[in-house]
Symmetry: C2
Subunit: 194 residues, 2 copies
DNA sequence: CGCACCATGTAATGCGTTACATGATTTT
DNA sequence: AAAATCATGTAACGCATTACATGGTGCG
């Protein structure tokens, strides 16, 4: 998948691996992320299979950089992937839910603490998904009119991220209440050791 | 992670790998899933590290089965994991959003079709997350009163899944509208090949 | 007759993370 | 003086998927 993310980003502009990482963190990072080391490896593979090409640009006072560009084969591969519709639902993996599911032995307080930590984190995240992100999409669209339609799609994905965090925050708040009502104050099974 | 999922399930009841797969698909499958082959391998590892133990039970007219049970060391490992609070947010990976982000070259109709397919799928999924799932949690809680508190947590995770699908459906509907308004009817860049 | 279910697993491969390694420049 | 940024990568490892292999029972 990362493969197509990189092809997609390169279809806008040739870039270095380092640079792609930053792009990704700021835009598509909401729904797809990757470590630098993996990005470099994937770029290498893409080059081996002829979907991207690269050249080294010397710089002064800074390390040389290798700039990748999408090839025609790469553009075809990207389009082919885009054209094949997704006919299943992504299975989700959520560690918090996994923990919560089995957390009864922890007892009330530990569970509530865990949920409060997550509530905090999600409220912080919420800030990133909101106005600033919307503004920066708008800014790009205003500056490059030929990207206006792309921007509609970017904005749609941003709103999905925003709705997701909003939903998660509401769920956390609600669950905090439910659990503090349902659980007794004493820890039920805790501390069998030492 | 699967490791803890299995320990968690086994902390309720000793079971076979085959059986665990079914349990997982029906309960925790909403937020964590695994293939059978991986379950078998993980169980083996868990046994090698002494967190579970197993014995083979012969059956008539059916293949023998290997029943796994959690050990004391396994219970400790599970509790240790539960006790360590999650202090980060799970990064999400969503292929649909990834595709959508780069889909402008597909043109209006192909994009709308893709979204409609997903809308269908999510509406089907929605049915699973609703009443039937809630009822079956309630049924277990009623039958085994000592699991009443566990059931509160199970229900919380179920509601999260439900809210998630609801949110996704609303977002898809909204996005369908936005795109059909913003995009022109003709396909902009499509079909450069053949 | 064929398919689904029960039940177990191996092998090959792919995807992704973490840790390691390097080294100059700019900011605090 | 220390930390962050720019810039690239390798190596080891772990987690997960897919395909393959086996074989009996029960149902339509």
């Amino acid at each position: 998948m990362l493969k197509y993310m990189l092809l997609g980003q390169l279809s806008y502009l040739p870039q270095t691996g380092y640079n792609l990482k930053q792009e990704i963190d700021q835009s598509t990072g909401f729904f797809w992320h990757a470590e630098l080391s993996q990005i470099y490896r994937t770029l290498k593979q893409l080059e081996e299979t002829g979907l991207v090409s690269s050249y080294v640009q010397a710089q002064e006072g800074r390390p040389d950089k290798r700039i990748y560009a999408i090839t025609e084969a790469g553009q075809r591969a990207l389009l082919d992937w885009l054209r094949a519709p997704l006919v299943e639902i992504e299975p989700v993996k959520d560690t918090l839910l996994l923990k919560l599911f089995f957390s009864r032995p922890l007892g009330k307080e530990a569970i509530l603490t865990q949920l409060r930590i997550q509530l905090d984190l999600h409220r912080q995240l919420r800030a990133l998904y909101g106005q600033p992100a919307a503004d920066s999409i708008r800014a790009v669209a205003d500056q490059y009119p030929h990207l206006a339609l792309d921007a509609v799609l970017w904005e749609a994905t941003r709103r999905c991220g925003e709705s997701y965090v909003d939903m998660y925050i509401r769920w956390l708040e609600e669950t905090l209440t439910v659990i503090s009502r349902a659980f007794p104050d004493s820890d039920p099974v805790l501390d069998e050791e030492e």
